[in-house]
Symmetry: C2
Subunit: 240 residues, 2 copies
DNA sequence: CGCGTTCTTGACTGCTTTCAAAGATGGTGG
DNA sequence: CCACCATCTTTGAAAGCAGTCAAGAACGCG
């Protein structure tokens, strides 16, 4: 009865991800599972949250892909970072905060309110899991800056594919070296600071080099070891 | 007796900055001022904090410039974001956290431990000020991604100069349209994802266009209005 | 089956890098 | 006070990576 979109995770994936960040009580897990009932569907290409909106509380993205992004006055779009199914957004440590950045869906998305941790216990498992999740999000932001500032198109693509595979693995959304990637080449370009034309050429180069293929929404990493070597890849550390 | 480096702020600037984020009690301010006594000096080009180091508590950078950065295996350097005098680093909401990124000094730097907020009162003025500070830091990260991903060298330079002027103004470190910028053109390049040669050319273009000059460590914004128009500049909102 | 979106490829342009070398600057010691 | 040296800035010429423009092919949805 509780269905998620095609690119969705079961809530189990999301719980597994948070559990790997901090020890959740069985009550925590139960609260997450029960809030699944309050889920809402959002069409693709819709704003989930706009800059300046009040931040109501943490939100679980149960299924579908979204992004934090920025539109320049002349129409150029930059995708700041992706939000993958099973990840939690709107984690915030300020009182009565306002959103700093707009979040937009790339696919149809299913969300539900994630349980708020006990405000009197900042050390609770749930609060810690959210804090770690936020820290990892920030680490991904740093990686994104590094990618855009100092890597060639070829390196950016490799680094990002590896990172995305690892992130999806946390919620069990990979199948060996394969994963589903519901992004157009234009969206990939807006993420990696390239044109869609050059994304296409770069993917072709990766294919010709036998490193990875991306066809009909499925990515396969053929030679992960070599990809890691080319960009000096290190997974985002678990930061405690 | 308590001296700071040439590019330093008085602690008053740092207190003013935090006070603009949340209402600090006079006790908070007194605690900040009194911790100034525990200050330490760090030479330029030294790591203040290394990836994986345990995070002891918030640290005030009372004087000097530093950066969060990443070194690629082949020596390329990316400056993720700058840390300006009067800003607080190591703000963290995890239990027993480890540093996610290395922080390195660009100039001689003076730091002292910033007071820890009451762990039982997440709504205290100090805790809120730190939380807002961290949120603004993240907003700057997003701006940085946008700059690197979708702006030309010319636009990046303008956008960054405007942002830096605004950030320095929070601690009273600007003199009208002027401010001191203790960075080499190579460091600016590592920040903006450019070579030092192209930084030089870009600054020349800005000078020729009558927008801004940067000579002997002093930047002057000659035509802020036009600079803002060129890049569609909006200051980082106060995010509550 | 038809239409809009997305992908693919070619040819050409141009912004930024690379390589190189000369000039300015600033700090240090004689 | 000045010579000297390292560092930083400035400029030119040439190469290259990625962007732009354009058009045809493939795909997917109704």
């Amino acid at each position: 009865m509780l269905m998620v979109s095609k690119s969705g995770v079961t809530v189990s994936g999301a719980v597994a991800r948070l559990s790997s960040f901090a020890a959740l009580t069985s009550d925590d897990c139960a609260r997450i599972r029960s809030s699944e009932r309050e889920q809402s569907w959002v069409q693709r290409h819709r704003d989930l949250i706009r800059v300046g909106d009040p931040v109501a509380g943490p939100i679980m993205v149960a299924g579908g892909w979204a992004y934090r992004g920025h539109l320049l006055p002349d129409g150029r779009r930059q995708i700041i970072d992706l939000i993958l199914p099973g990840e939690v957004i709107n984690i915030c440590f300020r009182q009565d905060p306002l959103a700093v950045v707009t979040i937009t869906t790339l696919t149809e998305v299913v969300t539900f309110p994630a349980p708020r941790p006990d405000p009197n216990d900042a050390a609770s498992g749930l609060a810690q899991a959210y804090a770690v999740s936020a820290a990892i999000e920030e680490a991904h932001l740093c990686r994104q800056v590094r990618r855009l500032g100092r890597m060639s198109a070829y390196e950016r693509m490799i680094d990002w594919l590896l990172e995305t595979h690892d992130r999806l693995a946390l919620t069990g959304m990979v199948d060996g070296a394969d994963f589903t990637l519901p992004l157009t080449q234009e969206a990939i370009g807006d993420l990696l600071g390239l044109t869609s034309v050059h994304v296409n050429r770069t993917l072709k180069a990766l294919r010709d080099d036998g490193m990875a293929t991306a066809a009909s929404r499925v990515v396969r990493l053929h030679d992960r070891a070599r990809m890691e070597r080319v960009v000096g890849y290190k997974p985002v550390r678990t930061v405690q």
